[in-house]
Symmetry: C2
Subunit: 229 residues, 2 copies
């Protein structure tokens, strides 16, 4: 994969979605989609010249997009060598889940003093995941599951905590690419998420936090097992 034409095919997109903010952000949006969909697998080197031609933007604009995605942890920038789709290790998985326990745990324990409507977004995420499951759209289930955990983070009512969780979940999408069977991975959590919401709705914060902890332990173990192979 080296010519601009070959890259073009992978980047075909509706230009309609490219109409807000600076060019850099729009280009980053396109690349982010391709990366989280696995079109550019971890380790892939993103050639400036080929992508520039394929996307029809200048190097400056493309480099801005690279910088945005590098900041999100999706790309790794190696000086004088180029930009690569980030490859996460088993240690990264352990670190991500240790951090998730801290952040999501703190957020859910603050549920009693959550801002109005924050719990509604948790419920909406649960319902949207269940709806996607009924339609057999398991990638969409995964996306809704991310929304669920983002909503949990929102209970803390802290802009910086919410943003940290957002970045954390973005990195996790790189890890999920190793899971070959999205249905088997995501399906069991539909019920767990519903249970956590139910406990929160009745004010059983401590029990909800305990269920969340068990969920994180289990997901981490599953991912580490997948990394073994």
């Amino acid at each position: 994969m080296s010519t601009a034409d070959e890259w073009s095919a992978l980047l075909a997109t509706d230009r309609a979605s490219l109409d807000r903010g600076g060019y850099g952000e729009r280009v980053a949006d396109v690349l982010r989609d391709r990366i989280t969909q696995g079109v550019f697998p971890p380790g892939t080197r993103l050639s400036e010249e080929a992508l520039r031609e394929a996307l029809g933007v200048s190097r400056n604009t493309l480099r801005e997009a690279f910088r945005l995605l590098a900041h999100e942890g999706l790309l790794a920038h190696e000086f004088n060598r180029g930009v690569f789709v980030r490859e996460l290790t088993a240690d990264d998985v352990r670190d991500l889940y240790a951090f998730r326990r801290i952040l999501e745990g703190a957020a859910i324990r603050a549920a009693a003093s959550a801002p109005a409507g924050a719990l509604d977004r948790v419920r909406e995420a649960v319902e949207s995941a269940e709806a996607a499951a009924r339609r057999d759209e398991w990638v969409e289930v995964g996306t809704s599951n991310m929304r669920f955990h983002q909503a949990i983070a929102g209970l803390a009512n802290s802009r910086r905590l919410t943003e940290s969780v957002r970045r954390l979940l973005a990195e996790l999408r790189l890890v999920f690419l190793v899971m070959a069977a999205p249905r088997e991975f995501h399906e069991p959590y539909l019920h767990v998420n519903r249970e956590i919401y139910g406990l929160l709705a009745m004010g059983a914060v401590a029990r909800a936090a305990a269920v969340l902890d068990r969920y994180l332990d289990r997901a981490e173990r599953q991912l580490l097992d997948a990394f073994e192979r």
Copy 2:
């Protein structure tokens, strides 16, 4: 302040320090120093043209430095208007301290399973702050105090938690600029930091965490008081 000459005077620096990494990072280092020293106070607009000439770099390189500092939260980028030194509000102070309680609290409670040498770095930060105080260098005391809290974060042995605290403390430096008297602000914490280290060294993790919490409450209140005026 509009001509390049006027900016040049504020940017005078030893070029010797400008010899690692990409140009963008070196330019960012210079600007970061000036911002945290208060040379460019919050709200200042950083003109591309003036800075480009003063620093002797191209616009592309300067814009790269802007992006790096915007990621760190030190600059705010307003589309088609330019970049400004970030102005933090009282709400930001509350959010920063709420987040500090979560992150530093989680880190200090993990002190029992901290990696080898992590506690030594806490002690080193305490001692370096005390040494700076004996020399009456109160800005340096503030820097060492940051090192102390960074070392506390290191007890958690999580790359991502450490990085989050690093960014959090960088933003806090913008807030500290409102404190007119650095000595009165930093001096009381010398003893508190020594006390926290002592408790950690004897394994009294819970008590150390409690002292840290009281420290954070007090610092937050002081800063919010300063914001009132």
